[in-house]
């Protein structure tokens, strides 16, 4: 308890508190700007923390992290430009709400959901860091393989209207992900002797390309169209009034987000998606989804901010990052000579409590800062598209790529922008491509590692309970997807006749 008070003293000292507020505001802005991701912001800031105290370093990085995960929602809702990959899910319902003139309400819901989701995950972060770490030890290569497969099956079956088109997108994503250096045997794969292709398809520039650069191309298609974006002033209070209706979605999505955050390699995008799918599944009015259902915004935003606390659990407890952001923060830990794991809890308890406190406070700060700043950021939405389009294109192409120091990454953003644009014209879902880029390495690596085990064989995937559960769930999800599609097709037939 003494340590908790000591940590609180460190956190609430004027300069640390001011730094945290600045970090959350910066995170919010970075997250809201399409093409700028939290990972990139953290990555660029990590070298800056080399010379600072460890407290300053983690207050700064965690403030940016939590702020940016939420910030993506602002532009996703108001402009259909997800500032971060995960906000793409928020945009599905958020943008139609804006088009109906409910942009302010959507922002209010997103802000409230983000704060609550983040706080729920903090409870888990604080009270379950050590016990939850023990669960992760049960996961061997076969378990991770099955888990990754299940996650990919979910996006394949549920992200588009057609399972077949989902399959095409997933297969494309997996194919893209295999380009580069084989992660196990370290030999070139699909590089055709081009040195740059050894880089492979870097996930962040490719995903930003798919979701943001393609948006710029779409804007170019109808520059003259105006009026899609409306003023958003007012409507913030309605969010509070909706809380009794939304609390089930918020608590369920927060739990999903925390759980996904704890599992390594699966980030906020998956958490948002699963929560969104769940909210849609239990909804009494599923036909409203896609046309501006508040539950959709709420599910996506509470889930992705819940990932922040969740993803820190394995990072602190075991040194395994839960997502790309915590990977960067882990880098900063090592720079400061800190070894994550039980030792950290024993030797640096005050730092651990400062980290807990910083995440709690960042998520709390999102509420006042988000509500007051979203209006200002919303002003950008009123800018004429002919100014917006080139800005978005330049930010999306350079933002994700500039940190890598090579022209190849810019081409990736541009080419994936084109791919995203064309695929969307053909009604192919983009999410499975983004997801496959992230999950394919996890799945492939663990599948091949499984086969290296002494008892390798088919029965290995059926005799281990966690593995079997994941595989069965994957099959069920695909079956469910196909049934849903048939039902939809039947409905269309009825309407036609």
């Amino acid at each position: 308890m003494e340590i908790a008070f000591e940590a609180l003293g460190i956190l609430l000292s004027p300069q640390h508190l001011l730094l945290l507020v600045a970090a959350v505001v910066a995170g919010l802005t970075v997250g809201a700007v399409p093409g700028m991701t939290s990972t990139m912001a953290i990555g660029l800031l990590v070298p800056l923390t080399f010379a600072t105290s460890k407290y300053v370093a983690f207050i700064l990085l965690l403030g940016i992290y939590c702020g940016a995960i939420y910030g993506g929602a602002i532009t996703a809702i108001l402009m259909n430009l997800p500032g971060t990959p995960t906000a793409a899910i928020t945009a599905i319902e958020g943008y139609p709400m804006t088009r109906k003139g409910e942009g302010g309400k959507a922002i209010g819901i997103a802000t409230l959901s983000s704060t609550l989701g983040g706080l729920v995950s903090c409870v888990f972060l604080i009270f379950l860091s050590l016990p939850l770490a023990n669960i992760a030890i049960l996961f061997g290569p076969t378990e991770y393989f099955a888990l990754g497969t299940f996650a990919l099956a979910v996006v394949m079956a549920l992200s588009g209207r057609s399972v077949l088109k989902g399959l095409v997108s997933t297969a494309l994503g997996v194919l893209f992900a295999t380009v580069g250096i084989d992660m196990i045997a370290q030999s070139p794969r699909f590089t055709f002797g081009v040195t740059e292709l050894l880089i492979g398809i870097p996930a962040v520039p490719a995903i930003i390309g798919l979701f943001c650069v393609s948006e710029a191309f779409r804007m170019a298609e109808n520059v003259t169209v105006t009026g899609a974006v409306q003023k958003t002033a007012g409507g913030f209070r309605t969010a509070y009034k909706m809380l009794p209706k939304l609390w089930v979605t918020i608590s369920k999505s927060s739990l999903i987000g925390t759980f996904i955050g704890v599992l390594p390699g699966i980030g906020a995008l998956m958490a948002s998606y699963l929560s969104y799918a769940e909210a849609k599944r239990v909804s009494k009015t599923p036909e409203q989804f896609g046309k501006g259902a508040p539950e959709g915004v709420c599910a996506s935003e509470s889930a992705n901010n819940a990932v922040t606390g969740g993803a820190l659990v394995p990072m602190l407890a075991l040194g395994i990052p839960g997502d790309t952001n915590t990977l960067m923060i882990l880098g900063a830990m090592i720079v400061h000579g800190l070894v994550p794991g039980p030792t950290l809890f024993r030797e640096e308890p005050s730092l651990v409590y400062v980290i807990f406190g910083a995440v709690v406070l960042s998520n709390l700060l999102i509420l006042p800062l988000g509500l007051s700043l979203a209006r200002h950021i919303a002003k950008f939405a009123l800018i004429d598209r002919k100014y917006l389009m080139p800005t978005v294109a330049v930010l999306a192409i350079t933002g994700a790529s500039i940190g890598y120091g090579h022209i190849y990454y810019f081409w990736i953003s541009i080419i994936f922008g084109l791919i995203g644009y064309l695929l969307q014209k053909g009604d192919f879902p983009l999410l499975p491509i983004a997801m496959a880029l992230i999950l394919e390495p996890l799945i492939e690596r663990n599948f091949r590692s499984s086969l290296m085990l002494p008892d390798a064989g088919l029965e290995m995937f059926l005799s281990r309970p966690i593995t079997l559960i994941c595989i069965v769930m994957a099959v069920l999800v695909i079956w469910f997807g196909i049934r849903r599609e048939r039902r939809l097709a039947a409905d269309v037939e009825i309407v036609r006749s």
Binding site: M183, I184, Q186, G319, G331, V339, M452
Partner: protein, 322 residues
């Protein structure tokens, strides 16, 4: 116009250099550096190679008297960064981290990058892998473990990172020297290896020392053997592999170099700087925090180390490919 300015700058610089060597005859290397230096790093910011390099540069900058601007050019297992560095102008103002992954490109046919594409100034740090098992494992020593592996061929597994990678190569050489059949399982990196070992998914790991220290302190894991040439200061009871009788020394180094054809004075100045940094106690303490040890190898020694690594790698890869 721009040519004129350049020429004037050039004249001023050389005049300054001539003047300073007149004024300070002892300072033989005052001619380098006269301006800030660019540095190419082939791994991401915040990673192991990045951290080691930045710690070295913190001290080297003060001694060189100029800023060193680090640029992380990542991807392709380091191929992109090395390619950018080797095609840079060899004027001593574009330098690069020359580390233990440079020799891999030739034997693995990954990219057209050779050790001799670079001028090598000096090394500054290294780390060696260690053999780790669970503390409650039945093996008391490295010999016990090797004997058990020989008695149960194909039953005991060793966790490594990638096939043919940093840990697999010395492990393959060890298996060859000790005469056991290696059953390797791959993991993304040290933390995942440690967790897999704790969870009983593998019987041993070959990995860096640092990530395992907390578990060793808690009495969950133990070190059986170290692959450096000398024992670790913090673990004097852990023998090196060569002491036990397996002729394997694997020291993964970090050092300085630049594109081939650099001015001699620049190379000498950098080597002298590195020699001074080696002896700074704070530098050594910072390396120790990362699990690294100072490597005192100058230009010629370090180049020889790289070539030795390459021939070891070639042998290891041949063993791995069967």
């Amino acid at each position: 116009m721009s040519i004129k300015i350049n020429r004037r700058e050039l004249m001023l610089t050389s005049a300054g250099a001539a003047l300073s060597s007149l004024l300070f005859p002892g300072a033989a290397f005052a001619a380098y550096p006269t301006r800030n230096i660019n540095w190419i790093l082939m791994w991401r910011a915040g990673g192991g190679a990045d951290t080691a390099t930045r710690i070295f540069l913190k001290y080297a900058e003060k001694m060189l008297g100029k800023k060193v601007i680090v640029q992380n050019i990542t991807g392709g297992g380091g191929a992109i960064g090395y390619t950018a560095a080797k095609s840079a102008k060899p004027d001593g103002y574009t330098l690069v981290t020359i580390q233990g992954d440079l020799p891999k490109f030739e034997p693995k046919a990954l990219a057209p990058i050779k050790i001799d594409d670079f001028d090598i100034a000096a090394a500054f740090a290294f780390q060696s892998p260690v053999v780790v098992v669970r503390a409650d494992a039945p093996w008391k020593s490295l010999e016990d473990f090797v004997k058990d592996m020989k008695d149960n061929p194909g039953k005991r597994t060793i966790g490594i990172s990638d096939i043919g990678g940093t840990y697999h190569q010395p492990t393959a050489l060890w298996a060859d020297a000790a005469g056991f059949k290696l059953k390797a399982v791959t993991f993304p990196g040290s933390p995942q290896q440690a967790v897999a070992l704790l969870g009983g998914h593998v019987d041993a790991t070959v990995t860096w020392v640092k990530p395992n220290i907390p578990y060793v302190k808690e009495g969950k894991l133990k070190f059986l053997g170290y692959m450096g040439s000398k024992r670790l200061d913090d673990y004097p009871d852990v023998p090196t592999l060569s002491e036990v009788g397996y002729d394997v020394v694997w020291e993964h180094p970090y050092g300085i170099g630049g594109p081939k054809g650099m001015p001699k004075e620049a190379l000498v100045a950098l080597e002298e700087t590195a020699k001074k940094v080696w002896e700074v106690p704070e530098f050594q303490a910072e390396l120790d925090k990362l699990g690294l040890t100072v490597m005192r190898k100058g230009s010629a020694d370090y180049r020889a180390h790289m070539h030795k690594m390459q021939s070891d790698m070639t042998k290891a890869l041949k063993l791995i490919q069967g």
